[in-house]
């Protein structure tokens, strides 16, 4: 099993279970034991998960990937000590950012639910052509990817959370806007998209929106 086997779902599962940080250790680029260079896939997973955490208002620095070979015991110790120190400084997940337990759960559940979709997006749009760490950093921080992320993932994430709320019970736009912390215009945009896809219906009598 390679670092590239680390699934986005594993990382999210750990946070859902209350982990305050996730550390991934991999072989140095160019030193792949499988020659498949799966460590670059791990790098991509980590870049992506950091963007997702940021989107959810969770500190992206809670995920850390480091290259450490089997012979670098002392480096491993240094890195681990440093990471646990940093995570301690960040405080418990959610609380640190002033998030309620429910709010955090809603966000992580939405991300978890989106994993298959995110994998498709990654495959279609987020593969980095050049295998170098700088190229990955540049790519994932580029404006183009930022835009793509907003279009393809950020909106989906909000819709996901909205749908989760609506599946609980019908709610008003005001209520949705308040819980999700989004502007009414964003909510109505998401509602329009969802309605077109047949995901939501309007309960005109009570002026509430319900899951279809």
């Amino acid at each position: 099993m390679c670092t590239g086997r680390v699934d986005l779902a594993f990382i999210l599962r750990a946070f859902s279970n209350g982990a305050d940080g996730v550390f991934i250790g991999g072989c140095w680029p160019g030193e792949c034991h499988y020659v498949t260079e799966g460590n670059y896939l791990a790098l991509s997973t980590v870049h992506l998960s950091r963007k997702l955490l940021k989107l959810a208002g969770i500190g992206p620095e809670r995920v850390r990937l480091e290259w450490i070979s089997a012979s670098e015991g002392s480096r491993f110790a240094e890195v681990m000590n440093d990471f646990s120190l940093k995570v301690r400084e960040l405080g418990p997940i959610g609380n640190g950012a002033g998030m309620s337990e429910d709010g955090l759960k809603l966000k992580l559940d939405a991300l978890n639910a989106m994993v298959p979709y995110i994998k498709l997006v990654e495959r279609e749009r987020l593969r980095v052509p050049v295998k170098s760490e700088e190229a990955y950093t540049q790519f994932f921080n580029s404006d183009a990817v930022e835009r793509l992320f907003k279009e393809l993932i950020a909106d989906k994430f909000e819709i996901c959370r909205m749908m989760a709320l609506l599946r609980e019970k019908p709610r008003s736009t005001g209520e949705l806007s308040q819980i999700l912390g989004l502007s009414p215009s964003d909510i109505s945009r998401h509602l329009n998209v969802s309605a077109r896809q047949g995901l939501v219906k309007f309960d005109a009598t009570r002026n509430l929106i319900a899951a279809a």
Binding site: G4, D7, A9, S16, E37, G38, V115, R123
Partner: protein, 1032 residues
């Protein structure tokens, strides 16, 4: 039963004669490796060892350089492999008495010494040890601690049975005590046991008796034996070791205090011509001392370590970095000085050392503990042994070997491996063991497999309908885990976990009796899952999986919880937290086991042909050996002719006519009907896996596809083209190899030269190449001797940093020095400078260098300047590395699977390595390694099939949406679409799948799964790791 007299004892003679194929004499790491390789090649082996258990010196070491792997941890799985191998019969406490016959048909008489314990009856329970009233120094712990008169040699001993030391047992003094006899419930103790004579027939013999350490007490000049706080380096290994006298705490003998100021003295007994000392360099002491310094600093970060040394001989692969690592630790001093041990301070019993440095002159300094870095001597009673076996010895008392084959003794059919060849380290001992296998196999190819026995396992139980029944075994690993983690509380905790029906502790879970106990418990308690909480799966998973098979359940129901590397070793100062972490780790493993599935390993047929890449000495020797063992070989060479680098080498230090040897070798290769030689050949492509490779080459104008079962990479190395010291600008500046060529062709310029200067370490041991090229010091000494032979009046200067004429080559360094070659040491901060000038009308190369003794500048006017240029990886190394998935080390040489114990294997199965492609080395070392690679390769070629892991990927077709994400990440080409009535679906070729699992993490629908590491299995561990907030 007939009786006869042996060494003053009566001997029972066994009437029946046993037959085997090969006898291996000496069961240290070399003998063990030879036995395992021979057994895997299909020979029946007697492994004979004089001490009560197998393991040799390596079992006494704490860690091994330069990786600091735990020595016993990597060696002990091999003990069990030997014990379980159906083709190996281990005979411990046994010595060879007589050898008759000839190659192919030896009759060997063995004397089994009385252990006073009946082997078949002893269970290793150690009740007798508890009852024994006699405490006596423990030889395994270098007599630093006490053991009983009856005891087991060491905890992981194979065989794990007791023996009685008649020198200390009271019964043998005046028949006063026989309490152990009554204590043994199994009636296993027989104090009247007599020596037994056994006769066996074998076709060949491998001698691997190892070495003795130099005894510093004999010359009485280092205070050893007189001053309590002077110990040998082997004593210090035991002090460092967790199974040592103080459970891994470094304490000094006089008052058991922790020493804070420790000195090491190098070259004790080595590199001296005084009577009783050895003139050769022992080759291993520099590196083991650096290791001990690093480990001592690990034990106590404030410890002050001082190493008094002569040349630092960091000539092995990765040794230079290892030396730097030790030297750069805080509180560590390396001082180049001859020393003498002064006095013992009354009261404190500290020891003083007198030494001198250029800066401060003679000084005397006090140390808490002094470690003597003792050298390697030939085995004890070596002359008698040589007589018994009818072999010759060299002047030092090591085995006299064939100048072109260090594994052949002077007697046909008797081979030698390990340190009896001369002072060598563990990897070389292992290499020569595999080489001895190859040579035995060449000799006995006609009878291979005739006495071969198959391992028989109990039938595998179908547990698919059963609820999980997990057994947890928590290992103390001596004190390695037990000292930090509260093992009993982990056991108690484990027994409360879901599905766990049995939990217990073991002292060493990997020892033979504990492994046996695990398989017994599986049967008795009906376990269907096993967790061993111990060390790393890297070294021990195969052993425990095998143990599950012994217990009749699928080996994939095994899970290893690493509470040593991941816990006790890294949290040695936080015992409470470490115990909690160990519990967490065990909980995660137990959770995972519930989901484990039985997997089937599958057998793949083996193509019985070999491919050797590189037609130099290494490649040709391997190819010939494979062919002589009965296998067809393809030998590829990129040049038009065979020979490689050796075409430029004309003589060796030992006087071999290299070109004559090479011509003969090339002739043999071409004449052999089983070797297909392709010269002028380029590799185009390689695919496949162990047993079934397909390699495409272009040979001349022809494109060929070669199918083969194994690959040996022997692509050699090149000489660095210097950019320093006017090389390429002035034709009087040449490299060492060019100088050798010039000498060989009788170049007038060389013959007429009045003065010749050599500069060592050109292009290596620097920032660009942080390694030592190993052979250049000997190479320059060789050229110097040759020049002095041609013209004794010639001034020859060798400007060096450390002379690294390791091992027996030291004698030639001395000879060159005696013949007035001048050796001048330079410092990397103050390199020699070269300029072309005219001196009294004579054009000369003026080399200026600082004299290290006088401190002034010397100007040497040379007619020729020879640069000892680095050895660099050959140009096509990268291409071959990619084609065969053979990794490279940071310096660009090929990286073996394990530095110590798999020195010619690659991590990629079925691919082997030899020659300078691995690292620079001398011709004899290359030959040894070439036989080693051939030996290892044949362990695969003799088999009809190889077993592939069951942990491969699998597709649930219903879930596959044919997005191709999996195919795009699989570099092995193991996944492809195939047409089904419901459209294209991905499918995995399990033979090509290597189980990296990238496809699994990319699949959006969860249709493709890496077995043994499924999403659910990993989730179960994540959930178990963080149970507090587990989602409801």
């Amino acid at each position: 039963m007939e009786k006869e007299f042996f060494e003053g004892e009566f001997v029972k003679r066994r009437a029946d004669i046993e037959s085997g194929d090969v006898m291996v004499v000496g069961a240290g790491i070399s003998g063990i490796q030879a036995a395992l390789d021979l057994a895997e090649t299909g020979f029946r082996v007697f492994l004979v060892e004089k001490s009560p258990a197998i393991g040799g010196k390596m079992s006494q070491l704490d860690k091994t350089f330069p990786t600091n792997d735990c020595s016993m941890c990597i060696e002990s799985p091999k003990f069990i492999e030997c014990a379980r191998h159906p083709n190996i019969e281990i005979l411990t406490y046994t010595e060879v008495d007589r050898v008759r016959g000839e190659a192919g048909d030896f009759k060997v008489t063995l004397i089994k010494k009385p252990r006073y314990v009946i082997e078949e009856r002893c269970t290793g329970c150690t009740t007798c040890v508890e009852y024994c009233p006699v405490k006596a120094p423990d030889p395994f712990n270098q007599n630093l601690s006490l053991n009983k008169a009856i005891h087991i040699y060491f905890s992981q001993a194979v065989p794990l049975i007791t023996y009685v030391d008649p020198d200390t047992c009271l019964y043998f003094q005046d028949e006063k005590c026989n309490i152990c006899v009554g204590a043994c419930k199994n009636n296993a103790i027989d104090l009247h046991q007599e020596a037994e004579e056994v006769e066996v027939e074998v076709g060949a013999i491998v001698l691997s008796p190892g070495y003795e350490i130099f005894d510093p007490g004999r010359r009485n000049d280092y205070g050893y034996g007189r001053m309590e706080n002077v110990v040998t380096s082997l004593d210090f290994e035991r002090l460092l070791c967790a199974t040592g006298p103080y459970e891994g705490e470094i304490r000094r003998p006089s008052d058991l205090k922790h020493p804070h100021k420790v000195a090491w003295i190098q070259c004790v007994g080595s590199r001296r011509v005084t009577p009783g000392d050895n003139s050769y360099c022992s080759g291993v002491c520099c590196a083991y001392t650096q290791k001990q310094v690093i480990l001592a600093k690990d034990h106590d970060a404030d410890l002050q370590a001082t190493v008094f040394h002569n040349d630092i001989r960091a000539f092995g692969k990765d040794f230079e970095r290892f030396y730097q690592r030790a030297e750069n630790l805080p509180g560590v001093r390396f001082i180049r000085s001859y020393v003498s041990v002064g006095k013992e301070i009354p009261g404190s019993k500290n020891v003083t050392i007198r030494y001198s440095t250029l800066e401060d002159g003679v000084q005397e300094e006090e140390f808490d503990l002094v470690v003597l870095s003792v050298g390697l001597n030939p085995p004890r009673h070596v002359k008698g042994m040589a007589d018994k076996f009818g072999i010759e010895l060299d002047p030092h008392g090591f085995c006299r070997t064939n100048p072109v084959n260090p594994i052949e003794t002077s007697r046909p059919g008797i081979f030698v491996s390990g340190a009896f060849q001369g002072p060598i380290d563990i990897p070389e001992s292992v290499v020569s063991a595999s080489g001895a296998d190859a040579l035995c196999s060449q000799l006995l190819a006609y009878r291979r497999g005739k006495l071969d026995k198959e391992r028989v396992y109990p039938p595998e139980k179908d547990v698919s309908e059963e609820e999980p029944r997990v057994g947890v075994f928590v290992c103390h690993c001596g004190a390695n885990i037990g000292r930090v983690v509260d093992v009993p509380s982990v056991v108690e905790y484990a027994s409360t976990l879901p599905n766990v029906v049995h939990a217990q502790e073991s002292l060493f879970a990997c020892s033979t009796d504990n492994a046996q106990q695990i398989s017994n418990t599986i049967l008795e308690k009906g376990l269907n899952r096993v967790v061993v909480a111990a060390c790393t799966p890297r070294t021990h998973e195969p052993l425990f999986r095998d143990t599950l098979r012994e217990g009749g359940i699928n080996p994939y129901f095994y899970e290893m919880a690493n509470i040593r590397e991941h816990c006790s070793w890294v949290h040695s100062r936080e015992t409470r937290d470490a115990t909690q972490k160990a519990k967490d780790v065990v909980r995660m493993s137990v959770a995972r086991t519930a989901l484990l599935e039985p997997l089937q390993e599958f057998e793949l047929p083996v193509d019985k042909r070999g491919l050797v890449i590189g037609g130099g000495i290494a490649g040709m020797t391997s190819a010939l050996s494979l062919a002589n063992q009965g296998f067809e070989v393809y030998l590829l060479e990129k040049d038009k002719d065979l020979g490689g680098m050796a075409r430029r080498i004309h003589y060796t230090l030992e006087g071999l006519d290299v070109q004559g040897y090479l011509d003969d070798l090339i002739r043999k290769v071409y004449k052999h009907s089983s070797i297909h030689v392709y010269t002028d050949t380029t590799l185009l492509d390689a695919s496949g896996y162990v047993g079934n490779f397909t390699t495409t080459v272009r040979s001349g104008m022809m494109r060929r596809e070669i199918r083969h079962g194994i690959t040996i990479i022997a692509t050699g190395a090149e000489e660095y083209k210097p950019t320093e010291y006017l090389y390429g600008e002035d034709e009087r500046v040449v490299t060492s190899v060019e100088l050798e060529e010039a000498i060989a062709r009788g170049d007038e310029r060389v013959a007429q030269a009045q003065s010749l200067v050599m500069i060592q370490c050109v292009g290596c041991r620097n920032e660009d190449r942080n390694y030592c090229s190993r052979i250049c010091c000997s190479h320059s000494v060789k050229n110097a001797l040759k020049l002095k032979e041609l013209n004794p009046q010639m001034d020859v200067y060798i400007l060096f940093r450390d002379m690294r004429t390791y091992g027996l080559k030291e004698d030639y360094y001395r000879e060159a020095s005696e013949k007035d070659a001048r050796f001048i040491r330079w410092d990397p901060q103050d390199k020699p400078a070269v300029e072309a000038v005219e001196e009294e009308g004579r054009p000369v190369l003026r080399v200026t260098v600082t004299d290290p003794v006088l401190g002034n500048q010397l100007a040497l006017d040379a007619d020729i300047l020879a640069l000892a240029a680095a050895i660099v990886p050959s140009a096509d190394t990268n291409t071959i590395s990619k084609l065969f998935k053979a990794s490279l080390n940071p310096d660009g040489f090929f990286q073996e699977a394990h530095v110590k114990l798999r020195p010619v294997d690659f991590a990629a199965e079925g691919v082997f390595l030899c020659g300078t492609a691995h690292y620079p080395k001398h011709i004899t070392e290359t030959i040894s390694q070439a036989y080693g690679a051939a030996g290892r390769a044949v362990t695969i070629l003799t088999k009809d099939s190889v077993v592939a892991s069951g942990a491969v990927c699998e597709v649930k077709e219903d879930d596959c949406v044919s997005c191709g994400a999996c195919i795009s990440v699989c570099n092995y080409g193991a996944i492809a679409f195939h047409e089904t009535p419901r459209g294209k679906k991905a499918t995995v070729n399990p033979v090509l799948c290597k189980g990296d699992g990238l496809c699994n993490s990319r699949c959006p629908t969860g249709a493709i799964t890496l077995k043994h590491f499924t999403d659910d299995e990993v989730f179960s561990q994540i959930d178990a790791a963080l149970p507090a907030s587990q989602p409801a």
